[in-house]
Amino acid sequence: MDCVVTGGNVKVLAKAIHSLSRIGDELYLEPQEDGLALRSVNSSRSAYACFLFSPLFFSRYTIPLGHAFRCKMAIKCVQAVFRSLSSLEKTVEKCHIELDGEKSRLTFTLHCKHGLLKTHNLSFQDSESLQAVFDKESCANMLRAQPRLLVDTVLHFPPSLEEVSVSVSGERVWFRNHVDDEAEQSKAMLTELCLSSDEFDHFAVGAQTSITFCLKELRGLLVFAESTGLPVSVYFDEPGSPVVLSVTDSVLEVNFVLATLSDDSNLCNHNNNTKRARSPPPPDDFMTDDIDSYLIAMETSELAGPSDALAPRCPSSNHTLTTQPSVDIHRRRLERGEEEEEEEDTEDTERPPNKKFRSLFFGSVCPSDSQLTNQTIKSQEVLASDSEDDTQASLP
């Protein structure tokens, strides 16, 4: 095997390797006829990534004839070849990758400015074939967006967040952090963002769905996509089926295949659903401002995103979506503790949520129009007196 990468492509190759290091500890390298495949998989086999560089990516691409060659090596060792990404562009003129079959060594030679030559002889192991089986074209749902949009979206989640949930309807997408049941309820913070379909280059939703997958691995792809400026395509089906994230151009195809949480685990947070009586929801276009009916809907439904609304047990989920103000990207923070209180309050009776929760809610949705403010204050008062009555009524 004898390949040469020149100019700016050296940086692309380096970024690909750094991106793969976010998935697994080992780099699988396989020179194929259709290009050089660099792959990685995580230890639990729930995340897989493949970067396929077509022969046109290289200024020279020669692969071993005869039997297929495959190897794997510690990804840290390959990363060491491409240290200091920022200076790569300025210093490296070309990168030569050669295989020394006899000595079981893969040699990376960087030809740099001022005649400096950096040679790295890395040892490798023979490996089994690593290929995930997936068919993204057959997925029911597909979104494509500029990487900037997704980068800006995930920026709102803390770096420590493990999993993210993505829910789609015909018109919108919601991103929210996934909170385990076991997580301390009083400490959990929910963050939710809503994007409308017109933010995307392509938005095809076959069935309303909600999937949950690992955010760290998504970030790994986004870092690469952002540096190349190529759009990211997201293909997915129902929970439990893997989500495929792709970045493609004429010389490169990248696929990240991530497992998603299956149905059962998605539902466990929201088993109060069926106990609630649901009133007709307010219209989807919040700007008609039927705030009273909105409040009624809030009282009786959980103020979480649509994921629970889309649970298979509520098949008529079309219009039970909790509405959002019609701002394209909107962020709400809910005190989980308060939400819990609300859940308890409304479990058996239709008591309105407690005052603290409501005032937090008003703060985020109330338009500044003074007239409307007066109305809401009146409404608030009405609700308050109702709750007192109810409390008295329900005391044994």
Binding site: G115, L116, K118, H120, L122
Partner: protein, 254 residues
């Protein structure tokens, strides 16, 4: 930085008085050799020499030369001035630091100095010598595989001319500088030599490398290494830092 020395008799009884308009440069140079707690200060009429040693295998020296009399240097704003005074054997080293009218006095206890090792490195014994612009070496040193116990230096009149090699967990790596590189200011290699030095001993030299603009690399017939760094500070004054290192005894031929 202008360093002036004056020996005064009577009055203060100082054996040495050294003054500096801006102590920052001295501070930077000393940081480049501070890999041990103790240093030997040697004051000569030509200037100050500070020596630090490690396990009898490595020696670093910093030279701060005396400024010629009659040359006046403008003192910068907010610069800290230093006056270093020493009364002789048994007395502490007294430092007067002045900044913005505030004077700080430090007295550092002195100890019995050990004789610095004489590596017996002389120019007549030098087999190979190169002078490189520091910029390119800085890059190589920052990327060196630290899992390698040794740094191998090959110098030769033929390919690969000047090579730094490491042997780490992932495999080996070589950094080659051709003799006609524009980073190579001087190339005088008479014989092919390959020597290994403990990485842990050479690692501190990267500080001196970071400050320098040029570095000379010399090996003698025994394989001893001399690294000399030319440091040009903000005022345009020149100082030198040098490192001497013994070759690693356990040499495994690759």
């Amino acid at each position: 930085m202008p360093l002036s020395t004056q020996s005064q008799t009577g009055g203060d009884n100082y054996v040495l008085v050294a003054s500096l308009d801006n102590v920052r440069n001295l501070s930077n140079i000393l940081k480049a050799i501070t890999f041990k707690d103790h240093a030997i200060f040697n004051a000569t009429p030509n200037g100050l020499k500070v020596t630090v040693e490690d396990s009898k295998c490595l020696q670093a020296n910093a030279f701060i030369q005396v400024n010629l009399p009659g040359v006046y240097h403008q003192r910068g704003l907010m610069a800290t001035a230093l006056r270093m005074c020493y009364n002789g054997y048994g007395y502490p080293l007294t430092l007067f630091l002045e900044e913005g009218g505030v004077v700080t006095v430090c007295k550092i206890n002195t100890q019995e100095p050990e004789e610095p090792i004489d590596f017996e490195f002389c120019s007549t014994n030098v087999t190979n010598k190169v002078i490189l612009q520091s910029e390119s070496l800085k890059e190589a040193f920052s990327e060196l595989d630290m899992t390698s116990e040794v740094l191998q230096i090959t110098m030769s009149p033929s390919q690969p001319y000047f090579r730094l090699s490491t042997f780490g967990n992932s495999g080996n790596a070589h950094y080659d500088y051709p003799k006609d590189s524009d980073m190579m200011e001087l190339f005088q290699c008479t014989k092919t030599q390959t020597n290994r030095y403990k990485m842990s001993l050479l690692k501190p030299s990267t500080k001196a490398l970071a400050l320098s603009c040029k570095v000379s690399v010399r090996t003698d017939s025994r394989g001893f290494l001399s690294l000399q760094y030319l440091v040009r500070n903000d005022d345009g004054q020149i100082c030198f830092v040098e490192y001497y290192c013994c070759p690693d005894e356990e040499v495994e031929e690759e």
